[in-house]
């Protein structure tokens, strides 16, 4: 080098020593960069891409999950609606049935009450009739006694008595139905089955 320095240097003819130095410098740099720095960078790039893609994937998964949940919710809602409609229909039918039942029951009840009322009415009328029959008998005996006992002085008085009696009978038969009033005159014949009962 010192020898070369003395002469005129040709910049395009490098000394061998410099070439070797250059090789060493670049080799060291290449070794360190290619072995440690650039792989580290590649790893970082991959990690970064994965982080971004992972984030996107996670977001997509979350969206799918949310969509599934929404679908499920909607299905459940629809199911609940149909169920509610079914329950409503059933309730309506049941209510109808209950109303029908109650109406039938009420009709039955009212019929029974009416029947019982009629029965009671008939019984009480019969009782009244029976009582009256007894009274009529007594009255007839009393009246007959009075008729016999009286001197039958005048017709008017006699006819008055008979009229009164008949009026009495009429007043009694007015409280009873017609058919029975007719039979009421044959008191003895009606009376017998009443006793037999």
């Amino acid at each position: 080098m010192s020898i070369l320095a003395a002469e005129a240097h040709n910049p395009l003819i490098p000394p061998v020593g410099e070439i070797i130095v250059g090789v060493i410098a670049f080799a060291i740099l290449y070794f360190v960069l290619a072995k440690f720095v650039f792989p580290q960078m590649e790893k970082t790039f991959v990690a970064r891409r994965e982080a971004i893609e992972g984030g996107i994937e996670r977001a997509e998964a979350m969206q799918a999950e949310a969509k599934a949940a929404l679908d499920q919710y909607r299905a459940q809602l629809a199911e609940a609606r149909t169920e509610a409609a079914q329950i409503r229909d059933a309730a309506r039918a049941e209510g109808q049935q209950i109303i029908e039942q109650l109406r039938a029951q009420a009709q039955e009840e009212s019929a029974r009450i009416v029947a019982r009322g009629e029965e009671q009415l008939a019984a009480s009328r019969q009782q009244v009739i029976n009582e009256l029959r007894g009274q009529i008998g007594a009255l007839a005996v009393d009246l007959a006694g009075r008729v016999v006992g009286e001197s039958l002085a005048d017709d008017a008085r006699r006819s008055g008595t008979v009229d009164r009696f008949l009026d009495q009978l009429d007043g009694m038969s007015a409280t009873t139905p017609d058919g029975q009033a007719g039979r009421g005159q044959g008191g003895a014949t009606v009376y017998v089955p009443q006793d037999a009962r």
Partner: protein, 276 residues
């Protein structure tokens, strides 16, 4: 010659005559500083000069920067990590992948190493107190160009087979037979000699010339200040020019690192893909 110019010449001659030999323009010796350590190993002379020191300093600095940046890489990068990743991404995506194609990614570490190595060493040309790029010594660009030359020829033989690679280089497909008498020597010369030579010379000459320009204007400014009389008024212009050229040098630093890497990728692309 005008009288004022004649007067200037006279003044300069007078100054020179007084013992000052006038403006000492920088010579080629700028690039051959006195060795700090000089030794001979296995018959090879090693001269550890200032420039050798700067070479190792630049290499160590860029390595320290990148290693520090990627020591604990995060998914969300810090400032330094972002800077380092951006630099590598330019080479990896912008050069290796876009120029060579999908097959280019395996070359990204080599291209990245080239880029960072050249960038760091070029940058030394405007670092105060150092102010010379090791790339202005032909040996270092030449080393890189030889690496590139070996690599693309190796890749071409590996990817296409030796026969097809050399045949395509000598006889480009689609060239008329009559033209081959011209094309074949040119192509062979271009692929195997001119490519690495121009690759190395382009980088070397840019840094060499850049350094010379900076030295000329810097020394010029100092000289104009010292020479006395009215030439002092020209000193600021020379200084301003030196500053402007420093910014221009910054552009050249980045551009040449990029160009060297892109051309390497282009040659690799030719080796990976058969000629069309």
């Amino acid at each position: 010659m005008t009288s004022s110019a004649l007067a200037l010449v006279n003044v300069l001659a007078a100054e020179g005559g007084e013992g000052d030999s006038g403006f000492q323009s920088p010579t080629i010796e700028e690039f051959y500083p006195e060795p700090l350590v000089s030794f001979s190993l296995l018959g090879v002379d090693f001269a550890f000069t200032r420039i050798t020191f700067i070479l190792f300093l630049a290499t160590a600095l860029i390595l320290a920067l990148l290693v520090t940046a990627m020591r604990k890489p995060g998914i969300v990068p810090g400032k330094l990590q972002w800077l380092a990743e951006s630099g590598y991404s330019v080479v990896r995506d912008g050069i290796a992948r876009d120029v060579i194609g999908p097959k280019g990614l395996p070359f990204a570490p080599f291209l990245g190493s080239l880029f960072f190595f050249i960038l760091a060493n070029n940058a030394m040309s405007i670092v105060p107190a150092l102010q010379i790029s090791p790339m202005s010594k032909f040996a270092f660009p030449l080393v890189l160009a030889v690496f590139v030359w070996v690599l693309y020829n190796y890749v071409g033989i590996r990817e296409q087979g030796a026969g097809k690679y050399f045949k395509d280089a000598a006889v480009p497909p689609g060239v008329p037979a009559a033209a081959l008498i011209l094309v074949t020597p040119i192509e062979l010369l271009q692929v195997f000699v001119i490519r690495p030579f121009t690759l190395a010379v382009r980088l070397f000459a840019n840094m060499f010339a850049g350094h010379m320009l900076l030295v000329v204007f810097s020394l010029g400014a100092v000289y104009l200040l010292q020479v006395g009389n009215f030439s002092v008024i020209f000193a600021p212009f020379s200084l301003l020019m030196a500053i402007i050229m420093t910014f221009f040098e910054l552009l050249v630093i980045v551009l040449q690192a990029y160009v060297f890497t892109v051309l390497t990728a282009t040659y690799l692309n030719g080796a990976v893909e058969p000629a069309h």
